[in-house]
Symmetry: C2
Subunit: 198 residues, 2 copies
């Protein structure tokens, strides 16, 4: 494999992928390099399905290897919610604050008073005429009673990773990036790519 | 805090600590800079005790902040063994291979057939006339049936971290270092040091 296209327009994500794979003999592109590719709708009901759908749809169009990710927050006491609907838990147009409010309301109502949760990222690498490869990363922690902190995005203000006393919205970005579910999925994918060259 | 002495003669460890704290306004020293300090015996029965003993003994001698670590492998089916005795599980002078053999023998005999385990690292930061600070990191995984791989040291050949299909002795060092219990303890300590400067 000489090149991989990352199925995203997110510049932060592209930078993270490029950095972690920079010493491999693979050129990393993103959807900025292929402006004619339309957005793929995330219609799956699992993280694996969504990542696979994005990666395979674009790989089939371009005839090149494509890597896509799907991520979300899984809360045990809510039977896995918000899960694959993390970005739109409080509705299609909901913002971060509305999604957070819904999570805290649901947890207040839940029978199960456990507040354990994890962020998960599933990466799919679709290679034309080959079986799609999956790797995942998780970050375990707990949901707070109320939002704390100003950094980050999404559910960061209500998630305290294991071993810390601060939410992801308080933890320094240099540390959060090394704890993250996406970083760990990428590390596992990096090992796969290294193995391929052996 | 302007300086911290790392309670180790291990050059790899010193390098890892220096790198992860390089952008903080703290100068990192090691026991190489204080050749008159004798080795502290690890007589504790917990990781916290051993790390605390090393850090506080040397901090009291030098009158400066000292950071020490204690690490080990905890296997649930062996009631937490080899634990704090990880380095000398098969005897005071046992080498890695003998320790690994003893773990595999004990697991074969164990009632509980689960092979889940974690590496843990506890870091203690002793500051003269202050309460000692602790941070820990864990790496969860499973014990294999037999040793596989040539890299690393200690129990690496029989430990497969969660999300991987290879042992720590097979995984590329660039990846293993980012999954490790010590790396994660250090990230948590880094957050503590950042908070102190706020």
């Amino acid at each position: 494999m000489r090149e991989i296209i990352i199925a995203t327009h997110n510049k932060g994500k592209v930078k993270e992928f490029k950095q972690l794979l920079s010493d491999l003999p693979i050129t990393i592109y993103s959807l900025h390099d292929f402006p004619d590719i339309p957005e793929v709708e995330e219609t799956g009901t699992t993280f694996h399905e969504n990542a696979q759908l994005k990666a395979e749809t674009i790989a089939n169009k371009l005839g090149k290897p494509v890597m896509a990710d799907d991520s979300g927050l899984v809360i045990q006491a809510l039977d896995g919610a918000p899960g694959v609907y993390s970005a739109r838990y409080a509705g299609e147009k909901a913002d971060d604050q509305e999604n957070i409010e819904k999570v805290l309301e649901q947890l207040a109502k839940a029978q199960n008073k456990e507040r354990t949760a994890y962020f998960i990222c599933v990466l799919a690498l679709a290679i034309p005429n080959k079986e799609t490869i999956f790797h995942e990363g998780k970050c375990y922690g707990e949901i707070t009673e109320k939002p704390i902190g100003e950094n980050g995005f999404g559910y960061d203000p209500i998630f305290v990773p294991n071993g810390y006393e601060h939410t992801f919205a308080e933890i320094d970005a240099s540390i959060k990036n090394k704890l993250s579910h996406r970083y760990h999925a990428l590390l596992a994918m990096r090992q796969y790519l290294l193995d391929q060259n052996l």
